[in-house]
């Protein structure tokens, strides 16, 4: 095995399936559709991530200005607000009228006037409840202190009730759910596109009549396998490029806290994408082989597309309750598992046996579909002209 023998198209006789797959990869990589599509997808995903990170960062602190005697509340207010989870900034306001003007102009959110024991708050519309509570608690502490309690007594009197959570918070929160949903749907759309590409490719070879020359030298199953593998690899490459750009964007914008955008989760998505692609590409290729003209492809693949659309709708139906019976059962069924299981895995902790069962069922159905598609394709590939009936092609 010298280096030359491994170079593509060098001096070795290569298996026909490999040759077909290599041709698919070469032709697709060269096409404008691939180059343009990859650029557009990459830009969209990166822009989406950057936009998401900007939106996430936009919980601006509440600007609170204190005037006169109420300025004594600033320290205790800031501490209490932090304890209540409110982000605030405080500032001294010398003149009440000027302060009110600032509130009216929107450069200040809340103006506190009056004494430290009886302050009054001025705001434009409403005050966030935790900010209001922090202010009330700060005034309360000032009154207790005024009544002669020692600072330690005041602190203990004002202590917040500790809350013990029986169920730890789910790290797979809303942001994460949104991200996983977006990823799942993107992959599902990509899967549909690559499936259609296989269907178009099958019909192209019938329409251009090269099929007869090809089938005189290569078995139909190998031709079909080469086509599916080649287009699948192109799809995987495109998704890898987009995925890599997405990971870089996630790293740079620091929204990496979202687990759905982590490496493990994305690898899981790619795994389900591959299974879904094999399932649908094989099904698409079988029905596409029944027709001879490009115009007929869409109507030929319609029965398969219905499953894809159903899978898409099921995501919305199942997602509110990712552990419910609808989501659980549908995520085990091969036509929907690739998207539903991927989304469920991001949304909740799916029991391992369910993941294993879904993957096994999907793989088994891919094996069955490959046999079926190979049979239909072999029988229909050389029947040109009118559309071949599925059962005729199946019987041969």
């Amino acid at each position: 095995m010298n280096a030359r023998s491994w170079s593509l198209g060098g001096t070795r006789h290569l298996p026909t399936t490999f040759l077909v797959a290599r041709r698919e990869v070469r032709m697709r990589l060269r096409s404008r559709v691939f180059v343009g599509g990859t650029i557009v997808m990459t830009v969209l995903v990166v822009v989406g991530i950057v936009a998401a990170s900007l939106l996430a960062g936009k919980t601006n602190p509440v600007r609170v200005g204190f005037s006169g005697g109420s300025q004594a509340l600033e320290r205790s207010f800031t501490a209490t607000a932090a304890a209540l989870g409110a982000k605030v900034t405080v500032s001294d306001i010398a003149d009440v009228t000027a302060g009110e003007a600032q509130v009216a102009a929107g450069t200040l959110d809340v103006l506190v006037t009056g004494s430290s024991t009886a302050p009054t708050a001025v705001a434009k519309a409403a005050i966030a409840s935790n900010v209001e509570s922090a202010l009330s608690l700060a005034a309360e502490a000032a009154r207790l202190s005024d009544a002669g309690l020692s600072p330690a007594a005041v602190t203990s009197a004002m202590a917040l009730v500790p809350v013990q959570l029986l169920q730890p918070p789910n790290p797979k929160d809303n942001e994460n759910l949104f991200a996983s949903l977006a990823l799942g749907i993107l992959l599902w759309i990509a899967l549909g596109q690559y499936g259609n590409m296989v269907a178009q490719g099958v019909v192209e070879e019938k329409a251009t009549r090269i099929m007869e020359i090809l089938l005189a030298t290569i078995q139909p199953n190998r031709l079909l396998a080469g086509k599916v593998i080649g287009i699948g690899l192109v799809g995987l490459l495109q998704l890898t490029i987009v995925g890599a750009a997405a990971l870089v964007a996630v790293h740079v914008t620091n929204v990496a806290a979202i687990p759905a955008l982590g490496v493990a989760s994305i690898l899981g998505d790619l795994f389900w994408f591959m299974l879904g692609f094999l399932f649908y590409a094989t099904a698409y290729s079988a029905v596409a082989s029944l027709v001879s003209r490009q115009e007929e492809v869409q109507s030929a693949v319609a029965p398969i597309s219905i499953f894809q659309i159903a899978g898409y709708l099921l995501v919305y139906a199942a997602l509110p309750n990712p552990t419910g019976p609808l989501a659980t059962v549908c995520s085990l069924l091969p036509p929907f598992a690739p998207i539903l299981m991927a989304v469920r895995m991001a949304a909740t902790d799916v029991p391992f046996w369910q993941i294993g069962l879904a993957a096994t069922l999907t793989l088994a159905s891919i094996v069955g579909l490959t046999w079926l598609a190979g049979r239909v394709y072999s029988n229909a590939a050389l029947r040109l002209g009118t559309r071949v009936r599925f059962m005729d092609a199946f019987r041969g």
Binding site: L8, G9, G10, T11, R12, H13, L14, T16, L19, V20, R23, M27, T208, R209, I210, M211, E212, I213, L214, L215, A216, T217, I218, Q219, L382, L384
Partner: protein, 303 residues
Amino acid sequence: MTNDHNLEIEGISKRYGETVAVEELSFDVRAGELFGFVGRNGAGKTTTMRIVLGVLAADAGTVRWLGVPLTFEARRRIGYMPEERGLYPKTHVAEQLAYLGELHGMTGAEAREAALGWLDRFGLADRRDADLQVLSLGNQQRVQLAAALVFGPDVLVLDEPFAGLDPVAVDVMAGVLRERAEAGVPVIFSSHELELVERLCDRVGIIDHGRMVACGTVTELRAGGRERRWIDSPAASTDWEIGVPGVHLLQTDGSRRLFELDPGVDDQALLQAALATGPVREFEPVEPSLGELFRTVIGEAGA
């Protein structure tokens, strides 16, 4: 041993529902010969060729090569030009020829070299990086033939290779086919251009309604047909009756007449009868062309 290198078609039959496409068809194409396959449209030529290539399964019969039934691997060594031309329209000419060469088992380097060699041979060296679809139909046809030849096939099966070619291209293609035959490759091709088939082929098979109605060299086919004589006897009256049994007048051209003799009729009796009218300026045997033979054979088969 030479017999082993014949492509033998033995008793193949194919029906489409009630329609008989080919019935009990048997013939062989010998190593080193050009075999012309002629017949009317729908006679069964394309069906036969597709069965030989294995892209169509026969209902009965076998195709043998090297003395054994054709396997898939052996079929891959057949160069094929289907009736329905087909290559990738949006792929560079040299690239797809090389691809087909590799599919037929060549290495990448061999396939590229062969592709460029054939393009050069067909005068398309400067179009190697053009998409097939921008070439003229005639040039696409040349590429199609190159696709059948690129991997150095052991057998050539060509469906109407001369259709749509200009006279120069016909000569180039005829030369290539002759050269392949001389290299020991059995070559079978179908054509409606009977003059070309007669000039080019060692043997001819005439198929009609799925049956081989005549098969052999043109000379052999002629022997099976009826003899004809032109006679120029200026003194004979316009309503002269030859009066020889088994001799029929086919056509008249001034004082010249064309007669056809039933099998076994002595042409000297015809000459004697002509001399009886006066001087005979011309007495000429006519070699029927393949076209005439074809019409005779098909006419008989159809009757």
